[in-house]
Structure formats: structure tokens, C-alpha cells
Symmetry: C2
């Protein structure tokens, strides 16, 4: 590793390129950033490019963005664990679509105490766009910080529009409402709602719980939050205490937590759906393959191609045609 320490001292700057090419640092900047406002002769241009090539100098995305006011990054704030199988496939498709326009997606895993601090941290990277998936991380105040930093496109999946943020309407409360309404319609009255302990998920889980509670408030049903980690031990603990709770229905946050819950309930000798009806969310590939096959909620999200096109329009023109809201749809199978 001694090699690395020595090499780090030889980091190449535009000053080195200027020296080798025998031009000013400003000229190097004009050439490498393709600044149209300044005329540089073809001979000088060639000299600068050759020097940059010889030294292995990489232009600086953010230095370019200081002039252009943006760069080609689409920043997606997200903890990795918050990205389930459903979202990960969609984000992959989004990368592919964004690449068509010359953008690159980066996931920013910073965890912040408030939206203002978060927005300042994202703004420091001067992305061309910020896409918030969770509905709470990008509010009007954060949007203002990002706009002042020159970020041109702000998009959020959120239950209501925020000023200056292009919003795809998506209300996680609706997911909780749909799950609870189905359980109540199936005759269940003592409902549990799984609340994952994993980082980054409460922004989705809390409104789902609130939705279930709103159903309880207008029926004779009760709602009990069930804290659970995505581990066998935590799920098994939940199942072993099931008789105490006496719950006859469960909304398991999503299909992954539902699959784990089905396993531990079976191991505990509790019949699904006989004793407990279980509803998941996401309609993953594996949902139909569970035994019993999992009743779940499918989320009809705008396609990655539609979202990429809207982001591109926002970056280029500041405006984009509205996208349809995300619609949760119940997929009824055997587990509830």
C-alpha cells in the first residue's frame, strides 16, 4: 500500500496540463469544458488535449457543472435496505432509460436529521436532478435549497404536491387502507400491521399503518403495530407470541416480510388463512409461489421510461407533462 501513498501525491491538476501545453489554466478550462464563449485556436486546442491525454488528466464533472449549472447525475436518496426486489428492478430499468439521455443514476445513502440538512448534502454534489421515492425527504424547503444550488429537476413520489417539486402522486396510506379493508371484508377484526425495524423503511411503513388505522376507526376492527426485523429470530419471536396478541389478520408490510411471516406461522402451527389471514404488498415473483399463495397489493407505477422522459424534460425545459398517480390494486390469492 506504500505505492498508493506515493502515487496519491502525483494527482494531476489542470495547472499541470497548462504547464505542459504552455498555455494558461483558463485556456485549459475553456478547452476541456467546451466553453463556447471563448475562442481557442484549433492548434491550441490540440496542444491542450494532447497534454491532458499524456498526463491522464480527467476533467472534473463538478467543476464543469459550476459553469453549466448542472451535471449529468440523477441523485436518488435511498438507503440500500429500503430497496426491495420490486423497487430494485424498477430502478435498474430507470438507469437504462436515463443512460439513453446521457444521465447516470447515483444512490445517495446519507441519513439526515432533517430535510434541510439532507437537501444541502445533496446540493453539494450539484446533480442535474433529484428523484425522491419516499414522499417525505423532499419538501418545499429542501426544494428551495436545491433550486438555489442550480439543481434543475426535482421529482418526488409523494401523497401531495410540494411547491417546485414535480410530484407523482403516491399515498402509502392507500396501501394500508386497501389491506385493512380486505382483511375486514374477510371477517377479520384484530389486525396486526408489521413495522420493519430496518433503516429507511419507516417513511413507507408509518403511512401504511396510518391507513390501516383509518379503516379501524370506521369499523369494529383494532390495529396493533408489530415490530419486526427481517431475521428468522425476530419473526419467530413474533409468531411465538401470537396466541397472546390473538390477532386474526396481518398486513405484513411487503411480500418479503410476508414470506418470512408465513414461514414462522407455519412452524408455530398457526394456520394461514384459517387462524390468521396475511396480506403482503408488491406482488413479487415469489408471491404467487408461496404456500398458501400470497394475497398482496400490486403497485401500478409509471414505467421507468416515462419517468426518465419526464426527468429529461424537467432538466431541459423546467417542465414536463404530468404522470399518472401510483395506484395500489388488491391481488387476491389464498392467504387472505
Amino acid at each position: 500500500m506504500g505505492i498508493m501513498a506515493r502515487r496519491a501525491a502525483t494527482a494531476v491538476t489542470s495547472a499541470d496540463v497548462a504547464r505542459l501545453a504552455g498555455v494558461s489554466r483558463a485556456t485549459v478550462s475553456f478547452v476541456l469544458n467546451n466553453t463556447q464563449a471563448h475562442r481557442v485556436s484549433e492548434a491550441t486546442r490540440t496542444k491542450v488535449l494532447a497534454a491532458a491525454d499524456t498526463l491522464g488528466y480527467v476533467p472534473h464533472a463538478a467543476a464543469r457543472s459550476l459553469r453549466a449549472g448542472r451535471n449529468n447525475l440523477v441523485l436518488i436518496p435511498a438507503a440500500v435496505s429500503a430497496i426491495g426486489r420490486l423497487v430494485s428492478g424498477w430502478i435498474d430499468d430507470l438507469h437504462t432509460e436515463l443512460e439513453r439521455y446521457g444521465y447516470t443514476a447515483v444512490l445517495h445513502a446519507g441519513r439526515f436529521t432533517d430535510p434541510g440538512t439532507a437537501a444541502r448534502a445533496w446540493a453539494e454534489l450539484r446533480p442535474g436532478a433529484v428523484l425522491a421515492l419516499d414522499g417525505t425527504s423532499l419538501g418545499a424547503a429542501g426544494a428551495e435549497v436545491l433550486r438555489r444550488a442550480g439543481v434543475r429537476a426535482l421529482m418526488a413520489f409523494a401523497p401531495q404536491p410540494a411547491e417546485g417539486v414535480y410530484t407523482v402522486l403516491f399515498d402509502d396510506r392507500r396501501v394500508g387502507v386497501l389491506a385493512a379493508e380486505h382483511l375486514v371484508a374477510r371477517g377479520r377484526r384484530r389486525l396486526g400491521v408489521v413495522m420493519p425495524r430496518e433503516r429507511g423503511l419507516s417513511a413507507f411503513a408509518e403511512p401504511r399503518l396510518a391507513g390501516a388505522r383509518s379503516v379501524a376507526a370506521r369499523t369494529t376492527a383494532t390495529v396493533t403495530p408489530l415490530e419486526m426485523e427481517y431475521t428468522h429470530a425476530s419473526a419467530a419471536e413474533l409468531a411465538s407470541g401470537w396466541a397472546e396478541h390473538g390477532l386474526d389478520g396481518a398486513f405484513a408490510y411487503n411480500d418479503e416480510y410476508a414470506a418470512l411471516l408465513l414461514h414462522v406461522l407455519r412452524d408455530a402451527g398457526i394456520d394461514v388463512p384459517g387462524e390468521v389471514a396475511v396480506v403482503g404488498c408488491d406482488d413479487l415473483v415469489t408471491a404467487a409461489l408461496q404456500r398458501p399463495a400470497l394475497t398482496t397489493i400490486r403497485l401500478d407505477v409509471p414505467s421507468a421510461a416515462q419517468v426518465a422522459a419526464a426527468l429529461h424534460d424537467l432538466i431541459e425545459t423546467g417542465t414536463a407533462a404530468p404522470l399518472p398517480a401510483v395506484e395500489p390494486v388488491l391481488v387476491r390469492r389464498e392467504s387472505a
Copy 2:
């Protein structure tokens, strides 16, 4: 969205701060970047900070890094879909550990034709560190590009060390060897190896296949690659053609693909492990809960805390104590 277009025109620059504070742009830069080399009076400092606050000016991470030669980002090149449940939990822990040192992890989803192009794209963000998980994306040539751009810490999980890259030894071939050796020891001779079609996975799947083939080369076993998408349709197609293949053992790439394969084999009336023995990889929470319980390979990876500490040492001092190699360990259950 008309609002956004108007606001974007008001992006605040350090020139605006300089104008409001009545100082030069250089002075603004000295104050906001805490440059110690230049003396600025406390009164001037206060004026600049007040002006920046009034205008909502966010200092520019990369502009700072132009001077400091690095910033606080740890860049992890990764397609989101390549991050399975195992890796996602580990990366989350890594974020938490990196935050203790003041670093933020960003996942860069760019897809590149060659390592040099990739390294240049990463270098444009001037991260403090690059951590490559896949063993092929960060070679000696890419490392040179990144070092010249001032990136101080280069770490890779790879089967052999590359010059200037701090390497945690991890050979995916070993995973394929271990799976195939176990299947052969269980009397299987016609082995299938699942090759996921999903983006970003071939860097892991190819060496696993090569490992299985090396076992076949020194036994009477044969190895057939089985292309599969992580969809019910693709898995079911594979299962429906099983009689043709006549395979009696399968290494299913990882536990997620293995779970899908177990489901479709059961639906096709093919007994596991009677007719086909199945081995997964990762020892996920759900592996022990499959029916039959999944035989798999556990990967003993250095802890996120160890890796974060090594990255910090590399960034600060250019060197770090070596970490133990990743060891694959067979976990024998019922499926093989």
C-alpha cells in the same frame, strides 16, 4: 412546473455572495472552504457567512475537493439489481460505519464498456474512496486513472491483488468449486449452473461457473450453464425442460434464484433432493425456511466496521492493515 423553470434561473453562486458581502470571490472561497493558507479577518468572515446564509448558498463539495484533493464520498460502483439481500444488509451496515468517520456512501449505477471508461466516470466525481465489490471493475489501469484524479483509497474484493488497489481476497470461483464438489460428493454427475440474465450479475456468475467446470474437469461430472431470469416464467420454462437436460444436481447462483427454482421444480413434480439436488449461496434468512431446507454456501465477509476502518486508514494515511480473505463455507441442509 412553471415555478421551477423561473426559480432555476436564480441559482446562487459564490459571486452573488461576494457581491452581497462586498468582498472578492476569492475571499468568499477562502472563508467557505476554511482555507488556512489565507488570513481573513473575523469581521470579513462574519460578513461572508451572513451573506451566504441570507442567499441560501450551499458550498460546492467538488469545488472544495478541487483544493483538498478529495471529498467525503465513498463511491461504490454497483447496479442495484446486483445487490441481493445479503449484500444489501452489509452495505447498510457499511453506511452506518462510514458515517462515524464523516463519509457518505454513494452507489454509482453507470454501466461501462471497459474499466478505463468506468474509472474516468467515477474520477469525475472526485470521491475520497472507491470500493469495488465485483473483482473485475477496478484493475491496475483504472486505479492509475483514479489515483491521478486524487482519489486516495482504492479497495476491491477480488481474486488477486492489483497494483495500487487494497484488495480483500475473494474468489467467486471458490464458491462454484465448493458447490460442485458437494454435489459430486452426493453422487451427482450431471450438474446445472444457473446463470442469471440480470444486469451486473455476470461478474459474479461467470467465475462461479468456471469453478464448477474446474471440478467437472477432474471428475466424471458434466456442467451445463442454465440461463435464467428472476421471473416465474423464466424459472418455469427451465423446470419444464428439465427432463430433456436430465440434470441431477444444480447450483442455483444464490439463495434467491434457488428459492425460485425449488418452487418451479415442485410445481413440475420433480423431487428435491431425490431427483435433483439444489445448492444456493449466501445463507439468507429464508434459506433454512425453504422446504426442503436449502443447502447453501455462507460467505464469511469482513465486517462493515473493519472495512470502514480500513477505508478511513487508506484515505488518511495511504495504507491499512490487511483484512482476512472472504471464505466460502458449505452449510449442509436438506436440498443437497
